[in-house]
Each structure stands twice: as C-alpha cells, then as structure tokens.
C-alpha cells in the first residue's frame, strides 16, 4: 500500500519512471478490460492508450478513497464508452423484448470454455448489449447506473441485458453441443 502511494506520488510529479512502473503493473489487466468493451484488438489498443494518458494527466485528482486499480479501471470503462459513442457504435440500440424467453437452465456452464472463447462470444454481441453486459455482469453496476452512464433509459438497459444474456446462453449451448458431439 505504501508502495502504491509512492508510485502515485511519483506519477503526480510526472516522474517518467514511476509512470512506466504504473503502466507495466496495470496494463495487462486493463488491456483485458478494453478488449471486452471493443470489437477488435486495434480498438482496444486505442482505448488503452487514450485511457492511460487520462490516468497520468488526472492522477493528481486521485484521493486514495478506493484502490488504485479500481480507479484506473473506472477510467478505462469510461474511456471505452465514450470511444464507442464517438464511433457511433450505439446507433443500433433499441428495446428488444423478443428474446425474453428463457433458455433451459443448467446447460449453460462455462466450465469447459477458455477465456479467449468467452471474449469472442462477448465481442459478437451487438455493441449496446455488449456494453450493458460488461457493465452489469462483470463490473457490477445497477441498471439505473448503467442508464445514466450510457444515456439510455433503465428499461432499455434491462432489456439489452436480457438480450445479451440470452444470446450468450444460446451461443454457449451451441459451443457445448459441438464440443460434446
């Protein structure tokens, strides 16, 4: 913890060595976060770069009221969402209620699936669904918070999540079936 504080102070003093240390410590996990929100590796790199520049320019606002990693992750997520918004990725977003029929339970375990496969599944989701799924399932935001972040209604957030969940379950089922057969 003390180490983290010196690291932050070094970054606040624009010490290039401290900045590089911080980058190297968090870049891997943050790159994974960026991958989840984007569709390609290039987009993820763009977001990661933009977000780390933001981290270093805004580090003086860090007040140690949360873990440094959580603070950086929040910046990653916000940068990713504003990046997608800039790319007009949310244009296809709409309320979808057709997918509310539940898929049969018990068969959608992720036990046999690898991280890369799961990432591929998430990336195949429509952009709106992808973001809502990331925010709700992985980051643990509530629907009203997601609505605020994405600038959509709470109902849209819920329906988008339901659609994402259903799409994922179908895909997992298909994958499991092909694996078992």
């Amino acid at each position: 913890m003390k180490d983290e504080r010196t690291l932050v102070e070094g970054c606040q003093n624009k010490n290039r060595t401290a900045q590089k240390t911080l980058y190297e410590r968090f870049a891997g996990r943050m790159f994974a976060v960026c991958q989840r929100y984007t569709r390609s590796r290039f987009e993820a790199e763009d977001v990661l770069q933009e977000a780390f520049v933001k981290v270093f320019t805004q580090i003086h606002t860090f007040r140690y009221d949360c873990p440094l990693e959580a603070w950086i992750k929040k910046i990653m997520v916000n940068t990713a969402i504003s990046y997608l918004r800039k790319e007009k990725a949310y244009l296809d977003q709409a309320d979808v209620d057709d997918y509310t029929d539940a898929v049969s339970e018990g068969e959608t375990t992720l036990s046999d699936m690898e991280y890369k496969q799961l990432l591929g599944l998430v990336r195949e989701l429509p952009t709106g669904c992808q973001s809502v799924f990331n925010l709700y399932a992985i980051e643990g935001y509530q629907h009203n918070e997601i609505a605020q972040i994405l600038g959509i209604s709470e109902g849209t957030s819920k329906s988008q999540y339901a659609r994402a969940k259903q799409l994922l379950q179908i895909k997992i089922l298909e994958t499991n079936n092909t694996n078992s057969s």
């Binding site: 790159f31 994974a32 991958q35 770069q49 520049v53 709700y136 399932a137 992985i138």
Partner: protein, 432 residues
C-alpha cells in the same frame, strides 16, 4: 430460484473475466509517452498565465492605458475639424468686415451691389448670375463646394506658413489671373452671411476673378507682420477648391451639413492643381516618471566565502567593525524629459528627431566595499598586483574606499544603464 440462477450466471462470467490479463503491444507505451510529452508542452504555458492572474491590477492598468491612448487618438483625429470650424467663423466675420464700406454690411444685397460696381469699373464682360441654394441648369457644370470650410482652410494655411508661403500664393494667383483673362467665364463666391445658423443661404457675393486675385497679394504682403488676424482676405474659388482637394475636406465627418450647392467653373480646376502637399510640422514634449532599485550587492557574505571561511561561520568570523552594512540600495523617483519634432516630407515620408534627458535618482552606497583593514582577500590581491609587474604604477587599494569618483561612477552607471521598462517591472512585481 431464478435470481440465484441469474447470480450464478453473472458470477461465473465475472470470475472468468476479473483476473483476465493480456499483454498489450510494447509499442503502446511509447505512444503514451509521446502523448504525455505533448501534454506537458501544453502545460508549460500555464504558470505564466497563473502569474498574470495574480497581477490583476496590471491588467486593469494596461486596459486603462489603452483606453487613454485610444481616447487621445480619437481626440486628435477629431480635433482638426473643430479648428476648421473655428477658423471658418473667423473668416466669415472678416468678410463681413471687409464689406464694411457699404451702408449696411450685414445684408447680402449691399455686398452684391458693391461687387457689381467693381465689375463695372473694370469693364470686363462677366456673365453674372445669382446663385441660390438650389443650382439651376443654366449654370452648366455644377460643382459641390464647401465654401465656408474651404475658406477657413485657406486662412489657416496662410496663418501657419505666414511669410514663407506668401510668394507661392502670389505666383499661384498670378497664374490663375492669366488664365482668367484669356477666357471669359462666370465666377461665384459664396460668403454665407448668416454665421450664427451656419446655413448656406441668401448671400451671394460675386467677384470678378481679376480683381480678387489682384487684391490678395497686396493684402497678404501687408499682413505679413500680423499674421494672427487674416482680415479682409478674399479668396478665389479656384484656390479654395484646390485646397479642398488636397486636404480631403469632403471626407470629414459631419461635413456635408455645411455644404452648399454652388456652381463653379470647371476649367480652372484642371488648370490649377497643387504641385506638392503643404509641409506639416509637429513637436511633442513628454515627461516620464519612474523608479528603480539597483539591488546591487558588493561585499558582504559573498566576499566572506571567498575568504575561505566556512559558510555557517561566515558572519561570525568576519570582522564586523570593518564592514558594517556593506551596501545600501535606495530607490528614488527618477524621470525622463523628452522632446520630439518632425516634419512630413510627403504622404509617405516624414523626418523625425528628438532628444531625451533621463535623470536616475536611485542611490547605491557602498560603505567600505573594498575595505583593506582586515580583508585578507583584498590584501592578497593588492600584493599580487604590486608584485606582478614593477613597471606599472603601484595601485593602492586602500584608497579606493575613499575614492569618491569610483563610488560615484558605480552609482551612476547602475542608474542609467538599465532600461526603463525593467525599472517599472521591478517596482511593480510583488514578491513571490
């Protein structure tokens, strides 16, 4: 049941993704670094801005100064018009005085009669025509003349140049006389009688050109001594028109209000054109107060350190009796007088020169700056100089401290050699 199921789904995904890590390409850090370098370059500007923010009164003072300058410029550009208006009234009054021999000088009829008689005596065929406010078609080419203001301009011209320009004017008028005698044409000069209202009306005074131009040189010659009051000067319309063109009087603000419509001959206009612009002279005198603190230190702790004494004991080991306050700097009110003059040679070129006297009153007083009584540095320096060369005259450093001339030189060079703007900057900057 459903909610726990939902929970399981999310937990499963979260667990898989929470610890996920992927190595980004190594070139990414270089890109981020380049970005950060750019950002820092942008930030470089900020400290200066913050500093100026603290000096809000400097901004306020500069805005005030700017307003003063702009106001002065505005006043200066608008002033000539007022001068013209003033001299115009003066000339109008003098014209009414000129027509004093008649019984009732204020009436236009009387002056008209007078001119009519003068025309008769000269026996020159003149097509006389009374010009009213509205020009008639019969007068041929109509030219818009600001008679009143141009008269004023003419008189001003006479005033300024005085005797020097009289000769020019006389030649100028002779020329016009020869052209006038060759051709027969009508001449009108308007002297607006009603000076109070300054409306161009009623009073039309007709002068034959020959008589008027013949009169002017004589009058001007007489007036050489007393230039201040140009009484009884009659100006031919050609001259007034010429001056009008050169001075661009028509472009003055508010001028059209005083413009009567007058028919004037076109020929002389072409024949007589000013060959060069009248020279303009100007001068200015200025005083600039300032203050400056030299802030010079000679001696003191700096010499003490050269004395091989440790820093912490510098003041203790130093002989205090020998160098009590080593130097005092005192700022005082300094001032500069400046005088400038110039002459306009042409529309593009002007010759300007000036002289400035700067009195710097800031004082630097070095008490025993080169004291030798206990300073081994000076002693060794003295011995080194005296031993090094026996041919040069011995220089006694002990006398330097009492050498008034040297101290005087020190103080004066510090005062004068610094630029004035630095003085101001130094005086105004609060300590940080």
């Amino acid at each position: 049941m459903a909610s726990s199921e939902e929970h399981n789904f999310e937990n499963e995904w979260r667990q898989r993704f929470d610890d996920a890590s992927e190595t980004p390409p190594p070139a990414l850090w270089e890109r981020i670094e380049a970005h950060l370098d750019e950002e820092e370059e942008h930030v470089m500007v900020i400290p200066f801005w913050r500093r100026t923010q603290q000096l809000r009164w400097v901004a306020a003072a500069s805005v005030t100064a700017l307003l003063l300058v702009v106001g002065g410029w505005w006043l200066k550009t608008n002033l000539p018009e007022k001068n013209v208006a003033a001299s115009m009234e003066l000339v109008q009054q003098s014209q009414t005085v000129a027509s004093a021999p008649s019984a009732n000088p204020s009436t236009p009829q009387a002056s008209a009669k007078q001119s009519a008689t003068s025309l008769k005596t000269n026996n020159i065929p003149v097509e006389s025509q009374v010009v009213a406010q509205i020009p008639t078609e019969a007068t041929g080419e109509k030219v818009q003349i600001a008679a009143a203001s141009s008269l004023g301009e003419a008189s001003r011209f006479m005033n300024r140049n005085g005797g020097k320009k009289v000769r020019n004017v006389r030649q100028y008028l002779k020329q016009s006389t020869t052209t006038a005698s060759n051709s027969v044409f009508s001449e009108k000069t308007i002297a607006s009688v009603n000076t109070q209202n300054s409306t161009p009306s009623s009073g039309d005074q007709r002068n034959e050109k020959g008589t008027s131009s013949a009169e002017i040189p004589v009058v001007v010659m007489k007036e050489e001594g007393k230039i201040a009051s140009p009484s009884a000067i009659k100006v031919s319309p050609e001259m007034t028109l010429a001056f009008l063109e050169s001075k661009k009087m028509r472009e003055l603000l508010g001028h059209p209000k005083r413009q009567p419509w007058v028919a004037a001959p076109a020929e002389p206009l072409e024949a007589i054109k000013p060959k060069q612009l009248p020279k303009e002279y100007w001068a200015s005198v200025g005083v600039m107060p300032a203050s400056y603190n030299a802030g010079v230190e000679i001696g003191g702790s700096r010499l003490a350190t050269t004395n091989n004494a440790p820093l912490y004991s510098a003041s203790a080991s130093f002989n205090n009796s020998a160098r009590t306050p080593s130097a005092t700097n005192r700022s005082a009110l300094s001032y500069a007088f400046q005088w400038q003059g110039g002459v306009q040679l042409s529309s593009r070129w002007s010759l300007e020169s000036g002289i400035q006297y700067l009195q710097g009153n800031s004082v630097y007083q070095g008490v025993n700056a080169f004291s030798t009584s206990s300073n081994s540095y000076i002693n060794s320096l003295e011995s080194a100089v005296n031993l090094s060369d026996n041919t040069i005259p011995r220089y006694d450093f002990a006398t330097i401290s009492s050498d008034k001339a040297l101290i005087q030189t020190l103080s004066t060079t510090q005062d004068i050699s610094k630029p004035s703007n630095r003085c101001i900057g130094r005086a105004s900057t609060p300590p940080f």
